[in-house]
């Protein structure tokens, strides 16, 4: 049994290393669901998924079924997807339209803000029965920034502003790429699953160390990855041409942390001056027309590769998408990858982005599949009792402040971002209810 005391949890995390149990122990996983996913601000969905009143999506937060729905007044509600009567899931589909939500079991019917409207055979209700006591339970806290809807299952805790605030610029970086300043998550989704702990995926999104090795099969004889952006002739140089070493430009990239477990990696160095295709050129023209040439140029100068909004979401700047990480069990994780449509961009540009995301982040992609293999192998390797510790010490002590960005930075091939995630992990995990 797990000792839930603050000191024994603290003993799992040491400078530059974490105990293998944080990936393998089912009791620790249960505690994570209670103390991290049960409290943190989690990405729940995007307002564009609910175009009109009555539109809903369903998802899971800390393994609990929730429904995100737009009410007749336009407001977005995040409710537990559970009938207040006998507990059946109210909305069975991943998305749909239902101005009234009716339970399949006994027909209790709710309004799209969760209010119980009526129950069949009302004359049978207990004398004290009051419909006002039986609304669908709302998720305690909801915060929205530029369409990104976050929810917290805890009534108290870090405010939305304090948690998401430092990452707003990273959300802006993506949203501003849309000529109309708006994203639409209406281009479907990729779904993949792996037999590994959720943190393996979370750690990986900001891991620049693995790329030349994990993704060796995506690199050509010149050491360059395949073209991942519309208008590029080839991708980033990740290994030297003789394939013996990580390429210098790749090594120069940096990673940044900003508290709460969040972080990001700087841009992938590509030949932006030569980026050109009919779709991209038209996109650049539309962007400049709406925002002015200078602002357009700023937006098109990449700053970010990947951003992590701890603990369950990432935003990618290279192959633009929003990714949501859903822990299922200590050794099982489901991930959803949403392509984003840049509202106001030419359809061909959006198609280019969607098409390339198929080959970078779908379950059948060239990139993500090798990551999944690594996650599964780590989960298997950690069954070994030969060594208790997982090393995350690269660059330990070399972190430096970046005053301009109000962040801490280090080389991207170091492991500062992972250590930062475990500081946040410990903050959540040491607090008893």
């Amino acid at each position: 049994m797990l000792d839930r005391s603050s000191s024994s949890i603290a003993a799992l995390i040491q400078p530059g290393r974490v105990h293998r149990r944080v990936y393998t122990d089912p009791d620790i996983f249960e505690l994570e669901m209670e103390r991290i996913f049960g409290r943190a601000w989690l990405f729940a969905g995007h307002s564009s998924q609910l175009a009109k009143p009555g539109d809903y999506i369903t998802t899971e937060l800390a393994r609990q079924p929730v429904i995100m729905i737009r009410h007749s007044d336009g407001a977005i509600h995040v409710l537990f997807n559970r009938c207040a009567h006998r507990g059946a899931k109210i909305a069975p589909l991943r998305s749909g339209h239902a101005p009234r939500l009716t339970c399949c079991y006994h027909g209790w019917t709710y309004d799209s803000d969760g209010t119980l409207l009526n129950v069949p055979v009302p004359e049978g209700c207990a004398r004290s029965f009051d419909t006002r006591d039986f609304a669908l339970t709302p998720v305690p806290r909801v915060g929205i920034y530029r369409g990104f809807v976050f929810a917290s299952l805890a009534k108290t805790g870090l405010s939305f502003e304090d948690h998401i605030g430092p990452m707003k610029a990273n959300i802006d970086d993506l949203v501003d790429r849309a000529p109309d300043g708006e994203l639409a998550l209406d281009a479907g989704r990729h779904r993949y699953v792996f037999e590994g702990n959720w943190k393996l995926q979370v750690e990986n999104v900001l891991d620049s160390y693995h790329v030349p090795f994990s993704h060796a099969s995506t690199v050509n004889e010149k050491g360059e990855q395949f073209a991942r952006r519309e208008g590029d002739r080839h991708g980033a140089a990740v290994v030297d041409a003789d394939k013996s070493r990580t390429a210098a430009p790749w090594k120069q990239r940096r990673s940044y942390i900003t508290g709460n477990g969040h972080g990001w990696t700087s841009n992938t160095q590509l030949d932006d001056a030569k980026r050109s295709s009919p779709a991209f050129d038209e996109y650049r023209r539309v962007l400049a027309e709406k925002l002015g040439a200078e602002r357009a140029q700023q937006i098109l100068t990449p700053r970010l590769h990947n951003s992590l909004i701890y603990p369950n979401a990432s935003i990618m700047g290279l192959n633009i998408h929003v990714r949501v990480i859903n822990p299922v069990a200590v050794d099982r994780t489901e991930v959803t990858v949403f392509p984003v449509r840049l509202v106001g961009a030419p359809p061909a540009m959006n198609f280019g982005n969607i098409r390339l995301l198929n080959v970078t982040h779908s379950a059948a992609s060239f990139v993500q599949t090798d990551d999944l293999e690594s996650f599964v192998r780590v989960q298997n390797g950690l069954r070994s009792q030969a060594a208790d510790w997982v090393d995350i010490s690269r660059g330990l002590g070399e972190e430096e402040p970046d005053r301009e960005l109000n962040a801490t930075r280090e080389l991207a091939t170091h492991e500062m971002v992972v250590r930062a995630q475990y500081r946040a992990w410990l903050d959540y995990m040491q607090q008893a209810a």
């Binding site: 281009a187 099969s217 779709a279 080959v359 779908s362 060239f366 090798d370």
Partner: protein
């Protein structure tokens, strides 16, 4: 038109995939050929929605180079597959339905898929056929076996004594589920 010709061609394609002769498999496609596995049932277009696969020849080439790369970890060890192709129905001529709809979408949007517009059969060009079939692929890798199943549709162009694939679409019955890594084409 001998239905056995189509059957033989589809069996040949399945055999190339099972034998991991991916380059030969790619050569079955026309230069402007495409390979599509939608991510939702009855997906109308690969252009505005995510797909499991939507490869033109260029992406196919990258995919296959990777499949033959010595350090493709997700294929170490490699998958073994067995395809079963059945319930073959020759749906054309004339060409209609999905392909025409797809062409119209391209034309309307003027987007990167517009080259598809050139593919509509015109008089004097080799005839094209739509052939649909049921596909079951059993995949074994690393002590795990799983099944992919669905309906596939080939748009085939007569070329010499055989056919070329102009477009292959596979609609998996579980296309919208969460998958473990898929490395080989279906």
């Amino acid at each position: 038109m001998d239905p056995r010709e189509f059957e033989a061609f589809l069996f040949h394609e399945a055999r190339l995939l099972d034998d991991r002769r991916f380059r030969d498999w790619m050569e079955l496609f026309t230069e402007d050929g495409s390979y599509w596995i939608p991510a939702v049932p009855e997906q109308e277009s690969p252009f505005d929605q995510a797909s499991l696969f939507y490869d033109d020849r260029e992406l196919m080439k990258t995919r296959i180079a990777r499949l033959q790369h010595p350090r493709i970890h997700v294929q170490t060890p490699p998958s073994r597959t067995a395809h079963l192709i059945a319930n073959i129905v020759i749906e054309s001529p004339p060409l209609a339905g999905a392909c025409r709809a797809l062409r119209d979408i391209c034309l309307e949007r003027g987007d990167a898929g517009a080259s598809l517009a050139d593919r509509e059969a015109v008089e004097g060009e080799p005839p094209e056929y739509l052939v649909s079939s049921t596909v079951i692929m059993v995949e074994y890798r690393n002590d795990k076996q799983r099944i992919f199943a669905g309906r596939q549709q080939h748009r085939l162009r007569r070329e010499g004594g055989s056919f070329k694939i102009v477009r292959k679409r596979v609609d998996l019955i579980n296309c919208d589920s969460a998958f473990e890594a898929i490395a080989v084409p279906i």
